[in-house]
Amino acid sequence: MVRALLLAFALCLSLSGADAQTADQSPPETLQTVLQRHADEVANPGRRSVSVVIEDLVASGQPNVATFLERWQDKGVFQRSSDGLFFYAKRQGSEYALTDMSTGDSAGTAAADMITEIRPNGGVRRVIGAALVQFQLSDPDPARRVAALDAISRSPDADQIEPLRASIDGEQDPELKRRKERLAGHLRARFGETTEDRIDAISALSSDLDVATRSVLNLILTTTSEVAAKLPEGVNVARVLKVGSDIPEAEAYARLVAADLAPRPVSDDEIKAALTANIREGRVGGLPVGQLGSRESRENAYDALAAQGAVPARVTAEIRTAALSSNVFYDAYADRDPQVTDAARTALDEVEARVARYQMIDIGMDALSLASIYFLAAIGLAITFGVMGVINMAHGEFIMMGAYTGYVVQLFIPDYTISLLVALPLAFAVTFGAGVAMERLVIRHLYHRPLETLLATFGISIALQQLAKNIFGTQARPLTSPGWLDGAWVINDVVQIANIRIAIFVLALIFLGLILFVLKRTRLGLEVRSVTQNPGMAASMGINPDRINMLTFGLGSGIAGIAGVAIGLYAKVTSEMGADYIVQSFMTVVVGGVGNVWGTLAGASLIGGLQKGIEWFNPSNTLAAQTYMILFIILFIQFRPKGIVALKGRAAGD
């Protein structure tokens, strides 16, 4: 340890004084000359002697010391017998190709018996390795330093603590410095020399969140499953297991067998094999073969064979129970020090509690972005369904049309940012047009026949979906988001949110504002609301309900198109993508309450939040999450048939 400190000190000196030293020397010192000073130690390194060499090498400030150490450690350094010089060598056929250490130039070849391979033993290699780590940790190239840190995190051990600590002070990069400090903490927690030191390091860890810290704590808390007749002394017991509740009986017995504390059970297959092997004249163990079609008779026959000594005896239930009850099953910490494991447990609990809190926030963010998507998908529907009382089953296909518009625009405009800026209004225009056409051609004739509107628009939905399949094929088409939307906003190791989702959230907010503005503050909105409330009266006041219906429907469809672009950016563009959203969109509208923008917002938040919430309980199974969510919605409708934001009284008009 003292040696390592000295070494570090020397290294710091060497890094600062390297240039000056080389300039002063004449004739110039090379790696070779330094090595030749310690030729014997280099050729036959011992654990003690090697440190002298390394110190001298470090002190020499030669630029390629690190490379040499690496080669030395990897048995890549050879000594030529003729002159005792050292080379790097590589086998080429029967000869070795030699490389000069300082210049890297070829230094001719040598026959195998002309050179000696230098083979440092394990202890020496470790010393070299530690020195090497020191070198890498202080390497002027930050990439090398990062690589060294990565290497330490991959295979940490006690020897690395000192070099790592020593390199912290000289570190200029604040990010790397923080990482070094954290890594040093991890190493100290695991390999610290004294209990106090470790506990100190462990309690410092409890303020961290990252995966590495958690895995360090988990490593300290590693347990092994043990079983013994009596709880042994001197073992750091994590917990004692109760058979039946903490550990299934079969597993507990298997442990007993593995620990040679109980006889191996005879499995059904072994019974069968033993019986088959012992069939004599159509009988086994006194029973005719034909009667062996049940477990009980097979066991009886086997017991008869065992009584004859032909097979080992079966482990009966009594033996089993007795064995289980006369032994203790426990989990023991691999770490013997209970103070350390207690501290680690406390720290881990703290870290996990904090992680859980942040995960809640993360889920909340996820739910928010999902809610924005549902809001975007549903708001157009809410306008047509709520304001006009028209069910548009083709709404999903308008979303799809918007997404394909984005895809086609990208085919023509390679710059993703510009193409996105073109695609958004274009998608609005395309679906606005489609919506107006559909209203004029079909829906206009079906007002006041809501179920038939549902069916007719469904027909359009089938046709549009198949049409998209015919044009664009069945495989998913990419709608690539611009580079600035690719990253994620990382708040800490647990909470991060993709930029694209933030963008969709912002888009949803913009549309919320825009729609509220259009409906509440513009002439069109006024006319829409008046037509909604009393078409006859509105018509008599000079408002053309036909025009208003057409525009409303166009608006709702146009927003679907924009939602399509937004959805396409983070999901795949397929001809069936609309169908994936239509039921959710309808439920958003229905749950929220019809005819109300705020209702749609509430519905989207509820459904988005609910879906993420359920996924949190059962993260592996999104299908189940959706199933449960729909069931919840069905139940929700029972209690609030008019949705969250319900109109009451006569205005509800039932």
Binding site: K648, G649, R650, A651
Partner: protein, 246 residues
């Protein structure tokens, strides 16, 4: 004449608007009663409360000799216990014949299996004939009711109420859109019906109310403004204020 229906202290509000405000009302059996009032006086809501369509926020609604509360009963239970209602707009089943309409209304067991296994009886047929004669639709029994004139539909609906054999009949604007001759017929119909049961008629048309010649209740802003003969209430200063405005 005993009290058949009694409302006391009934209030209901929609989104803060008090449609019915501490309303109390009584009707005996048999009795004919007309209810008048300006628009928004709460006439339709009053009927909604009795028939169970709207639940009041407070108050009691008690029906019959046993004084059962109507507040806990569903619309169909209330209808079965003897309250029939005619809507403002004629609502008959236009796709079905007049006979089918009347047959559906006949007071027979209402359970689905009773209905499924229902067989036509001579009594039932006779009752349908009687009612058809009463409402003047004997010649139209096999016609689809959608083909009837507006007035005939109103009568058919009243006929359906009669077929239900209710003890209390609630009739919302029966004379709306009728020719004078039809009105006269309707008046007779209601008067005859009221001979054996309680009938409440909501009407705008004062002439029609006058011809009914019965006690009148004036509703305004969800409560009773005046009650008595038509001549009595039309002399009431409050009523004049409400109708003419001040």
């Amino acid at each position: 004449m005993s009290t058949l229906l009694e409302l006391s202290g009934v209030s209901v509000s929609f989104d803060g608007f008090r449609a019915i405000n501490n309303l109390s009302f009584q009707i005996g059996e048999p009795e004919l009663r007309a209810i008048i009032g300006p628009n928004g006086a709460g006439k339709t809501t009053f009927m909604d409360i009795i028939t169970g369509k709207t639940r009041p926020d407070e108050g009691r609604v008690i029906f019959g000799e046993k004084s059962v509360s109507l507040l806990k009963m569903s619309e169909s239970q209330i209808a079965r216990s003897g309250i029939g209602r005619k809507f403002q707009k004629p609502t008959v089943f236009e796709a079905q014949t007049v006979r089918e309409n009347l047959a559906m209304a006949l007071s027979n067991p209402r359970g689905p299996f009773d209905v499924l296994l229902y067989r036509k009886t001579p009594t039932g047929a006779r009752r349908i004939e009687e009612i058809a004669a009463e409402i003047g639709l004997t010649d139209h029994l096999t016609r689809r009711s959608g083909e009837l004139s507006h007035g005939q539909k109103q009568w058919l609906e009243i006929g359906m109420l009669l077929a239900q054999d209710p003890r209390l009949l609630l009739v919302d604007e029966p004379a709306a859109g009728m020719t004078p001759a039809e009105r006269e017929h309707t008046t007779d119909l209601l008067k005859r019906a009221a001979a054996t049961r309680a009938v409440v008629v909501v009407e705008h048309d004062m002439e029609f109310v006058r011809r009914l010649d019965c006690k009148v209740t004036v509703l305004n802003e969800g409560s009773v403004l005046a009650e008595g003969s038509l001549d009595h209430v039309t002399k009431n200063q409050d009523v004049i204020d409400v109708y003419l405005g001040r």
